[in-house]
Amino acid sequence: MTELSPLARRIESLLFLSNQPVTELALAEACEVELAEAEQAIAELEADLAPGRRGLILRRVGGGLALASDPESEAAARRLLSRPRTPPLTQAQAETLAIVAYLQPVARPEIARIRGVSSESAVNSLSERGLIEEAGRSRFGAAIYRTSPLFEKVFGLDGLDALPDPSRFDPTPEDEREIRERLLAAGEQRAEA
């Protein structure tokens, strides 16, 4: 059985105690060591806490480091802690969250404009789940939203840069042509019929 270096041990302790992801710099400062030294210990810990080795996994989320439990323990954990599984996102919530994530900061009316429907209930439930938060008001008094640190944590994202490239979702020229054609052609065909 291996032993961790004293610095890696200390860092593991700090991550265990912290409820939020901690940056490497903050870890170095708390341990009163140089950043490079901390990074080395973090690398040691990261190898030791790689997926499939222990009950804990070292993850880089929300711009910092955090300990998480192995997903394989999820069912047992829910039995022990009688924690219900967080409900999946509804399609409306997912669309709204995508708009906020990619366009942030974004005002509520803009979300409604893009989705074509008032998105109040989706915005409210995302707010309640702590995934988005108000980031002020627009000139016209509309609430402006951005994603929260919790969003990055529960989506396992190491910062917003880790979101998938939005161009991935660009409609293809075929999609575009199809929509355009359908908009006009459908009616014309019927008119002829």
Binding site: F16, L17, N19, I57, R59, A66, L67, A68, S69, P71, E72, S73, E74, A77, R85, T86, P88, L89, Q91, A92, A94, E95, T96, L97, A98, I99, A101, Y102, R113, I114, R115, G116, V117, K153, V154, F155, G156, P164, P166, R168, F169, D170, P171, T172, D175, E176, E178, I179, R180, R182, L183, L184, A185, A186, G187, E188, R190, A191
Partner: protein
Amino acid sequence: MASRLDLDLDLDLDVFIGPFDLLLSIVLREEISLLEVELGEIVAMYVTKLEEEGELELEVATEFLVLVAALLELKSRLMLPGAEEDLTDMEPAEAVEELVSRMLEYRRYRDAGRALKEHFESQRGYLYRSAPLPPELRRIEVETAEQVYEPEQLAAALGDLLEPPPRPDLSHMRATVSLRRRLSVVRSVLMNKPVFDFDDQFGSEDRMTQAVTIFALLDLYKKGEAVWEQTESCGPITVRRVQSGQNGLAKTA
């Protein structure tokens, strides 16, 4: 990605009877002015149709709503005074472009939403700890602690405690008069005076006591211990003891 705009909705409007997508293309070709179309009615019909079919395919519904919203926006622009110039000249092709770009924009976020949703599923198994800090970390360390409180505060707090609290003010509360006690008072008066005048005996008591004494007399009458009479309204009340075994009759005004 297959586009699914198969909106089979038959409309029955004032200005138009037929399928929705036909209306859409007619509007786009400006054969019917949007101003004449009740969009609210279309939405209501669409919802009714979904209910009848018992299926609410959100994806289709959302696309429909995006379309209606775009139509609404076009319509509201038409209704705005001054904005007309922009739109009266708008070629059908331009209106189509407007709708197409709106639908494409929506589609982008719909797909991004789907990706996020999948990603969310893949991350749900990772659980994080959320526990309060151990007590020793929630406290200030003795070595680094500095003065933050004034000792005077403690002396003042103790001084407040030394002060006995003011007696509660009971002036708003009526003293209670006990029926039982009045019964024994009347009985003891009757022991000494078989006949007495109520006012002579109780006239100096407060109204509440007098009222309860009347109740006591009623009780004594019921038990056959006393009778009382009042010969005129508001006149003197004479109370008389009833000898045991003797049934008295009360004469009341």
